[in-house]
């Protein structure tokens, strides 16, 4: 049998050779994984959240494990967009994998400035993080503020020619409404979900375990929530939905795609098995072959409802 299986998917103007991307903040700037596998195999690399200027982040303790998950309050520590472009991007160019920059700003203008800077680079797209639970300003505040979101997307859309993804969370408001709103404002895709606000207390000291008190929950613990969000949103919008949250293997990825996701992002799993992304890509192909499905796009939204 030499039937060719298509695993390409399309996100906005972007053609991905497969639907597997790395979730922001769990893959650094990509280069740390060079020692584990050929980065050229990935559908896309999404960078750690980058802001206009470098950010130091929150004081430690920054993470704690919880049942089947983890809370993090890194506080968006990053090297700043300019350092990324001069130091990291040139090293990523040799891979034939689109680089998507996850962008975070404290003010509306910051998102726009970063997008302007990226317009002149080889970066394939941007993912706007308007839903980070770990920073006092920006983040969550925007996730609930439709006007601010409209401003951010509209103004970026005017100049920015490449793919715009907006990352949403179920922490505030109604995620379906916000997704519809993003589509209307001109986003090419939405990715969901970002981490969910949580906390942990040390009963010996009576203190919160995380210095930031709150953290974002990720990992298998949030998968059912993410899946429901993807399912609900993909019925409401025409733009592609990217599924994120607790994906550990190809079966999880399939669930997201059946629920309506065009592509998936893998986060926390990269910490446990650095090869997760490549394994999922391989296993998806194997699954398609076994089931004689010759185009992965046939899986998208394939959920059967009575």
């Amino acid at each position: 049998m030499t039937n060719k299986i298509n695993i390409q998917v399309k996100i906005g103007k972007l053609i991905l050779k497969n639907p597997v991307m790395t979730a922001s903040g769990t893959f650094g700037y990509g280069l740390e994984f060079e020692k584990f596998f050929d980065l050229g195999k990935l559908g896309a690399i999404i960078t750690k959240g980058l802001s206009l200027n470098p950010v130091k982040g929150n004081p430690p303790q920054r993470i704690v494990e919880t049942p089947a998950g983890m809370l993090n309050a890194i506080g968006l520590q990053n090297i700043g967009i300019k350092n990324f472009i001069s130091e990291k991007l040139p090293l990523l160019k040799k891979y034939k994998t689109p680089i998507i920059v996850n962008v975070y700003g404290r003010k509306v203008d910051e998102y726009i400035e970063v997008a302007d800077i990226l317009n002149d680079t080889d970066v394939a797209g941007i993912e706007l993080n308007i839903s980070c639970p770990n920073v006092k300003r920006g983040g969550l505040q925007f996730a609930a503020d439709k006007k601010a979101v409209e401003k951010i997307i509209n103004r970026i859309r005017k100049k920015y020619k490449k793919t715009i993804i907006v990352k949403l969370s179920p922490n505030t408001g109604n995620i379906e409404d916000m997704a519809i709103h993003c589509e209307r404002c001109g986003a090419d895709a939405v990715s969901l979900i970002n981490t969910i606000v949580g906390m942990a207390i040390d009963i010996k000291t009576k203190k919160p375990v995380l210095a930031n008190v709150f953290g974002g929950l990720s990992g298998p613990a949030i998968k059912p929530i993410a899946l429901a969000a993807v399912f609900k949103v993909s019925k409401k919008v025409k733009i592609p939905v990217i599924g994120v949250g607790g994906i550990m293997n190809y079966k999880d990825a399939l669930e997201f795609m059946m629920a309506g996701a065009t592509a998936v992002q893998i986060g926390t799993a990269n910490f446990i098995d650095p090869l997760t992304c490549v394994k999922v890509i391989k296993d998806l192909q194997y699954y398609l072959k076994e089931n004689k499905i010759y185009d992965i796009n046939k899986i998208i939204g394939a959920i059967k409802l009575e």
Partner: protein
């Protein structure tokens, strides 16, 4: 980096402390101060890997000395001979990166180990021994049960326990008299490292622990504060460390 090894033994040394030997390919090489990140379970609890210093390493095997403190170490303690362990490593820098043989020739080398910090110090002590470099080991723990004299046979060692049940009574740091010719290499609880910061010495080198997510430099969870004049920077224990110049670190 991605490795698998068979458990050779996983011996219980006392109520809570275990001595684990993993068979590794002879091509595996590690330096004192480095650690490995072990997958202790195949399900989602615990989810993350657990980091452990390399206690000893010779051609074909690595040893770990660990204390059961929670679910992850409990699961590790259940591993049996012939079980396959999946681990990432060696990770991090080494004490050796801070060891300048010529510069240190006329100096007194002190190694200071507190609790399970003994693990990485022990590996370094063996490295020095092999190189025939003289040193003195200061080894402290809560009580006799947590002191492993059997691993100190060839070392010039001073032991102290909180309750005096083994060696001297008191904090190990109170028995160290440093001067401008002293070089300290240490690993242990942060309170111990903080005390060592105020001991006089030519140089102080410390290996740090912290809460780790990835042990691969990407999650930025393991950071400690590094002095930078009036400012500070965060450094990743898993990447820039675990070994740092102790004077550079801000311990809160």
């Amino acid at each position: 980096m991605l490795n698998q090894g068979k458990v050779v033994f996983n011996r219980k040394l006392n109520n809570t402390i275990y001595y684990l030997r993993i068979k590794v390919p002879i091509s595996f090489k590690a330096q004192p101060g480095q650690f490995i990140n072990i997958k202790v379970s195949d399900d989602y609890v615990p989810l993350l890997r657990r980091p452990f210093s390399i206690f000893n390493h010779e051609r074909g095997f690595i040893d770990i000395l660990y204390k059961v403190v929670g679910n992850g170490t409990k699961k590790l303690s259940n591993k049996k001979r012939e079980d396959i362990l999946d681990f990432i490593g060696p990770v991090g820098n080494s004490y050796v990166d801070f060891f300048y043989e010529d510069e240190f020739k006329e100096k007194n080398i002190y190694l200071v180990a507190g609790g399970t910090g003994f693990a990485s110090i022990h590996f370094f002590a063996r490295w020095l021994l092999r190189k025939k470099i003289k040193f003195k080991l200061f080894y402290g723990a809560k009580n006799k049960k947590e002191i492993f004299q059997r691993f100190c046979k060839n070392f010039d060692v001073l032991i102290a326990t909180d309750d005096g049940s083994c060696g001297k009574k008191g904090l190990i740091t109170s028995f160290i008299n440093g001067d401008k010719d002293t070089i300290i290499f240490c690993c242990g609880p942060q309170t111990m490292l903080k005390t060592i910061q105020s001991i006089k010495a030519y140089k102080k080198i410390a290996s740090f622990e912290s809460y780790m997510g990835c042990a691969n430099g990407v999650c930025l969870s393991c950071v400690i504060k590094i002095n930078k004049g009036k400012e500070f920077d965060y450094a990743r224990v898993c990447k820039e460390g675990t070994v740092f110049d102790l004077d550079d670190v801000i311990i809160i």
